[in-house]
Symmetry: C2
Subunit: 188 residues, 2 copies
DNA sequence: GCGGACCGAATGAACGTTCAGTCTAACGAA
DNA sequence: TTCGTTAGACTGAACGTTCATTCGGTCCGC
């Protein structure tokens, strides 16, 4: 993952991988049929990890709004802490390695969460696939921005985006309380 | 672009490019120093195109809301009509070709549009960089979904997302009119 | 006859993959 | 306990292929 992050698929040679793993080139071929299979395995492994994080985050919170916001932050956190995973996914999903794959994301817990929200009329009736992409896109965009180092992203900034997204997505009017013009605190 | 879309950076060999261009391999090197420069040039060229589309779209519409929605649709349209551009961007931006680039997007007209909206209090006070990524992310996510063919995206679906996003981003309460429960038509 | 656009076989480096062989740990027989 | 056998993990030099790039040469308009 580290190699792919900084050198791309192409720049990551098998000998580089074997060096970093501390084994000989041939050894890799005892465990994987070739480079392709190695990469597929990486994807499967990390999809699994991401799914676990999502499932866990979705179960914490009383209201659907809270659960949504928790998940947003949790996913953001995961990507920021695992930059290689983020970069790998973005590269993989847009590469020919992926073409013809069955879009595993639509079996994700987050997808079901959105569907349920629509069913219970808490979330606007929008194609859940679109909602999902909007959320994933937002999270990874925020994480990429943070990791680029070009823009400082505070917790407060993050909360702003997450809440904006929830406001747009949910059916509810703006929350009853905290509507006062109370100057929004911008400190960390 | 077509080659990169279907084969990736790595799979796109110079001889493939020269064949498709109808010239000899060597000819490319009269115009570009090498593969890298060719790809950089592709990026620059398409950034320019995208910028033109954005600028044009942003100038059509009376209210800021309308201008936003127009731009959303226009960008979506552009990507759907130019799948190769979309794929190329997504690949390029996550590849080592791009690392250390100065994030040209923040000089985009859309970025200024968002800043102005914040200044005039029509758009929530959120770091405009984050807003920009949210919008771009949403547009390209929708376009990718459409192009994948896995999910049918109608104009109505698109409008839903764009409006949801605007609702979340803008400071205004939900629009006064069109609030009636008029059953939303889900047909094609 | 000049200059630059263009050609395309040749070059050399880089890469994924192979395979003949080494090493190690486990186990059963003596 | 000791030794022989074996399976399979591991090695890394070598192989064959692919590719970006080069360059001596041709072609053509002026």
């Amino acid at each position: 993952m580290a190699l792919i992050r900084e050198r791309g698929f192409h720049g990551t040679t098998m000998s580089l991988v074997s060096d970093l793993a501390g084994v000989a080139a041939g050894t890799i071929y005892h465990y994987f049929q070739g480079k392709d299979e190695l990469i597929q395995a990486l994807y499967a492994y990390n999809s699994e990890r991401l799914q676990q994080v999502t499932t866990e985050a979705l179960s914490s919170g009383a209201t659907r709004r809270e659960r949504f916001l928790n998940t947003w932050h949790r996913l953001y956190d995961f990507y920021v802490r695992n930059e290689a995973v983020l970069t790998f996914f973005e590269q993989y999903l847009n590469s020919p390695y992926n073409s013809g794959q069955p879009m595993g994301q639509f079996r994700s817990p987050l997808f079901r969460f959105l569907e349920e929200g629509i069913a219970s009329r808490e979330i606007r009736s929008i194609k859940p696939e679109l909602l999902l992409m909007l959320v994933y896109g937002g999270v990874s965009a925020a994480a990429k921005l943070k990791l680029s180092g070009k823009v400082k992203i505070t917790d407060s900034d993050l909360r702003d985006v997450a809440e904006a997204l929830w406001t747009g997505i949910s059916t509810s009017k703006p929350p009853k309380k905290a509507r006062a013009k109370k100057s929004r605190i911008k400190s960390t």
